[in-house]
Point group: C2
């Protein structure tokens, strides 16, 4: 079990100095053709690879982007990561991913860890708990240390930094409008509690759509789910005996759960009740009936986010400070759950 080869060892073996080896390996023509060849051959033989850690220490940059997301088991986030990786790799950056598991403490821990040398900058979508506590000192501290931070999707308004979001209000509005356009008049909303920013915004969009159609908002048709883990019961109770012809659910889980409850109540989708979800994940796509949904274009989102961060990282230090908020367009994907047969 041989150890990793270092410049030092190569130098010793070849009886030259370390700097000679270093230069030779970079093809510097300061070094004679002869030794250059020799060194290179030797290095290849022993499979020499410069030590990243040493390089990072020297250059004071790691060429690594830290990504912190609430849940890795979440199709939307993984698509975003895909986009991030694409752009990052194309620019010679490595990506390291940490999940906060929606825990505030773990988010703080992860940030501190990465901030203390492992990454040059951050991409973050904050944990539920963080939004709830509305505590973001850790992010602020990181920024104050001179590390660029770009937030996406679940962002914090008070924080001044680059952001990439979708227009959740418009997304919610177009989902709801789609239902109304298809003739629905009593549209139920299944959403999250208000401290989840995206849920709140989508709810706003829902109301806006109704108003545009001169339909009064009926609070009895709105369910705000606190405990996701048993949303099934909540939704069941909520939909029971309710006279509705459409449902807008602010995420995939709520959507499929609603679908199941409706089915159990003997209602068919889309004939009796039309259904629209949010997030274009595998569930929506493969479900029967396939679910109409609002696509957030995760990949694109990741790409923009990464680009924004890299721009900041490579900008000559003392430029004008300027922070952008990029809004990614959503689009409505129409599938079976809103397509009445014969239409």
């Amino acid at each position: 079990m041989k150890q990793k080869v270092t410049l030092k060892q190569i130098a010793k073996e070849l009886d030259v100095s370390i700097s000679t080896v270093s230069k030779a390996l970079k093809g510097s023509k300061e070094i004679s053709e002869d030794t250059r060849q020799k060194v290179k051959a030797f290095a290849k033989l022993y499979n020499y690879k410069p030590n990243n850690i040493a390089l990072s220490l020297k250059n004071r940059k790691t060429k690594t982007i830290g990504v912190i997301i609430p849940e890795i088991i979440h199709h939307f986030f993984t698509t975003v990561i895909g986009g991030i990786e694409k752009v990052a790799n194309a620019n010679g950056y490595n990506v390291i991913i940490c999940s906060s598991n929606n825990s505030f403490d773990k988010e703080v821990l992860n940030m501190e860890l990465l901030a203390s040398g492992s990454a040059d900058g951050f991409i973050i979508s904050v944990a539920k708990e963080t939004q709830q506590k509305d505590d973001h000192h850790h992010i602020l501290e990181t920024m104050n240390q001179g590390m660029p931070v770009v937030m996406f999707d679940r962002v914090i308004d008070e924080l001044i930094c680059d952001k990439v979001i979708i227009d959740d209000v418009r997304g919610g509005q177009s989902a709801t409008s789609h239902l109304l356009l298809n003739g629905c008049r009593r549209v139920a909303l299944i959403t999250t509690v208000d401290y989840i920013s995206v849920g709140k915004l989508r709810t706003k969009g829902y109301k806006r759509a109704l108003m545009a159609y001169d339909i009064e908002v009926d609070d009895d048709l709105i369910l705000k789910i606190e405990d996701v883990s048993n949303c099934s019961d909540s939704i069941h109770d909520f939909l029971k005996d309710k006279d509705i012809d459409g449902v807008f659910a602010v995420n995939e889980l709520f959507a499929v759960t609603a679908a199941r409850v409706l089915k159990n109540q003997g209602k068919t989708i889309p004939e009796d009740v039309a259904l629209v979800g949010f997030t274009d994940g595998i569930l929506s796509k493969h479900f029967i009936p396939s679910l109409s949904t609002v696509s957030q274009h995760g990949v694109q989102m990741g790409e923009r986010t990464a680009q924004l961060l890299i721009d900041k990282l490579e900008k000559n230090e003392e430029g004008i400070e300027e922070y952008k908020t990029v809004i990614i367009d959503t689009s409505l994907i129409q599938r079976e759950s809103t397509q009445k047969k014969g239409n």
Copy 2:
């Protein structure tokens, strides 16, 4: 925008030596109570955090585990990651995740990157392409450099290292047996091409189960899918006019796709055809009807994998070389897709 504080700066400000600061911060009682307080206060004020990179360089270890998986957009892998993170964090290790996107080249790149200083050891599940090419020099090289590697799920038999797998044969067998037990006699198999190790093994299990029931294997009832991206067409053609009463699909995607095709053909699940999948993901759980499936216990798998790696990492260098292969039990989860009503 202040920069990160270093020991040096603190030392200068306080007009003491660097080593004094270092010791004071670690609470060494070599240092007078007085200066200790002073230093600590100052450090807290400026939010001092030791630089990980420097520490890694010094200690020649990063306390980081590199994880390379084929696809991050894959529920099973994310659950495994969950398990890995849990154990890793509990042991003071950080986890960095890279996806190979099923590309051999990217897998090699990722390994080299992480191997050159960013991680102390590896956890890997190889890319499809890697299995197909049967080229694993990169992994071997990494191991030869003295870095422990643990493989999981998609492993390479020739490589001598710790491994955590499930018994895919038994999994396939129990899935098939479950169908047979429920009265199915003509069970179709939807699987992958043979170079995907897990697909091959599950196929083997399928055959074994049939044999145990004295049913001859009928190659007409076996579909091996090459191109996953349009598996829908393949499955459609395959199931057309086929006289079957059960389907075993070796992954979720195949299972739900089969479900859709069957439905289009006017068959109902489970009454006309019973269906069992593999991998207990969100799809299987939320689908209507919910799908019976073979659970791989991803979290547990991740935990074992991480533990194995950490054991190797912390073992005093020159122990006896000993490599374990851990087999995680699968279990069959019975859901609606195999539960005929009235049973």
